[in-house]
Each structure stands twice: as structure tokens, then as C-alpha cells.
């Protein structure tokens, strides 16, 4: 199966980048929130992300922003980020 990992690094206020990312997300793809995109894990923004795809967030970026209550999101380390890029067939970066 052809599966893409999409990384998103823009904050929720950047609605354009999010909408481009969501348009490109297909069934079977995975989404990784990095840098300012980890703010999407806040309850006020969580509903803006699709429910049908696995969503991950980088632990160091969550920690740097004091976001410790992310639910139903897999929190991954840098080595797990590397493994995730290999688990998928390609990586698409949205920024």
C-alpha cells in the first residue's frame, strides 16, 4: 500500500497550510504534528484534525510548549520520528 506521512509545523492560526494538508491527506496516511503544529493537540483545536488517520506529535515540541495533556494522539520521540518515516512510503512536509 502506498502510504504517506504528512508533517505539519504551522500553528492553528495558519488555516491555509492546514487546509492544504487536509486536502492531501488520504486514507491510510498518517499525520505528524511538529513545532508550532503541536498546538493542535489543545482541546480548542483538536476537532480541526481528521478522525480517520493516525495522528502523532513530537514529544520535545509538546514539552517545550508546556502541552502535557494531549489525548488520543501518539506522542513520539525523535528516534520514533525516524522510524515513522520508514514505516510510511514517503514524507510530505507542510510548512
Amino acid at each position: 500500500m502506498s502510504r504517506s506521512l504528512h508533517t505539519l509545523n504551522t500553528p492553528p492560526s495558519d488555516t491555509d497550510t492546514l487546509s492544504h494538508c487536509l486536502m492531501a491527506l488520504s486514507e491510510g496516511d498518517e499525520l505528524l504534528l511538529i513545532e508550532d503544529a503541536v498546538y493542535f493537540t489543545l482541546p480548542a483545536h483538536r476537532h480541526k484534525l481528521p478522525s480517520g488517520v493516525p495522528i502523532h506529535a513530537l514529544a520535545v515540541d509538546l514539552q517545550a510548549r508546556g502541552l502535557t495533556n494531549a489525548t488520543d494522539i501518539s506522542i513520539i520521540s525523535d528516534p520514533e520520528f525516524v522510524n515513522l518515516t520508514l514505516h510510511c512510503n514517503r514524507v510530505v512536509s507542510w510548512f
Binding site: 528516534p79 514517503r90 510548512f95
Partner: protein
């Protein structure tokens, strides 16, 4: 597996170069091959040796150089993007009649062909970007 990273963002404007650095270290520590890091657009500023940080802040160009001392790294800065932003090596300084050059040791200026070659040889190409 073979990785290539593409860095599109300035080290003082975006977090992306820092994320790329951490990812590069994780790739190398896992025993994978990092074929090349290609710096493009404002990412060429990662190769500016004159970037100076306060003592209690990290200096991203120096961090790339430190990683390149630990592992053999191919840090390639896009030549066309670099000369526009005032990142020159000794050759380009001569060519453009400047009396100074500032490409950091460990980096080299080259063309987009290096990105194409890296994309062909690598299992994964990961872009770390920022806009503006």
C-alpha cells in the same frame, strides 16, 4: 536506509533547522546513512559562519559543524540561493569581487543537481521548511 534532508528555513527565523538537526542526529545514531543535507532558500543561512549567538543560546551553524565532526556529513548549500543572501566561499567572493567570504567550514556551495542526485540515491527525502 539512506536519508537526505532538505532545509528551507533560516536558523534565526524558524525552528525547522533545529528539528532537522535533531532528526539528523537520530538518523545517524540509529545507524542509518545520511547521504546529504541540502540547504535551500533561506536555509543557506545555516552555512553563515558569522552567525553569532548569545552565550546561553544555541548556535545552529555551529551545531551543524559539531555534528559534522562526529559523523562524516555532506552539508551542501545551494550556490544560487547563497550568493543572493551574501553567503560566499573564497571562490565566489573572487568571482563577485567581494573582499570577504563567510561560508562556514564543513559546508560547501554547489548546485541543485546535488539535490536531484541525493533524491535518486536516498530511500527517504525529508524537507524541513518555514515560510517568510
Amino acid at each position: 536506509m539512506i536519508f537526505t534532508l532538505v532545509v528551507h528555513a533560516s536558523p534565526v527565523q524558524h525552528q525547522a533547522p533545529e528539528t532537522a538537526l535533531r532528526f539528523a542526529r537520530a538518523v545517524l545514531e540509529a545507524g542509518h546513512t545520511l547521504h546529504r543535507v541540502f540547504f535551500y532558500r533561506d536555509g543557506v543561512l545555516n552555512g553563515n559562519t558569522l552567525v553569532s549567538s548569545p552565550a546561553d543560546e544555541s548556535n545552529i551553524p555551529e551545531d551543524w559543524q559539531a555534528l559534522a565532526k562526529e559523523y562524516p556529513l555532506d552539508l551542501v548549500v545551494c550556490i544560487a540561493a547563497a550568493i543572493r543572501r551574501g553567503v560566499l566561499d573564497a571562490n565566489e567572493a573572487r568571482r563577485y569581487d567581494k573582499n570577504q567570504h563567510n561560508l562556514a567550514p564543513g559546508f560547501e556551495l554547489s548546485g541543485l543537481g546535488q539535490l536531484v542526485e541525493a533524491a535518486m540515491l536516498s530511500d527517504r527525502v525529508i524537507t524541513f521548511g518555514g515560510r517568510g
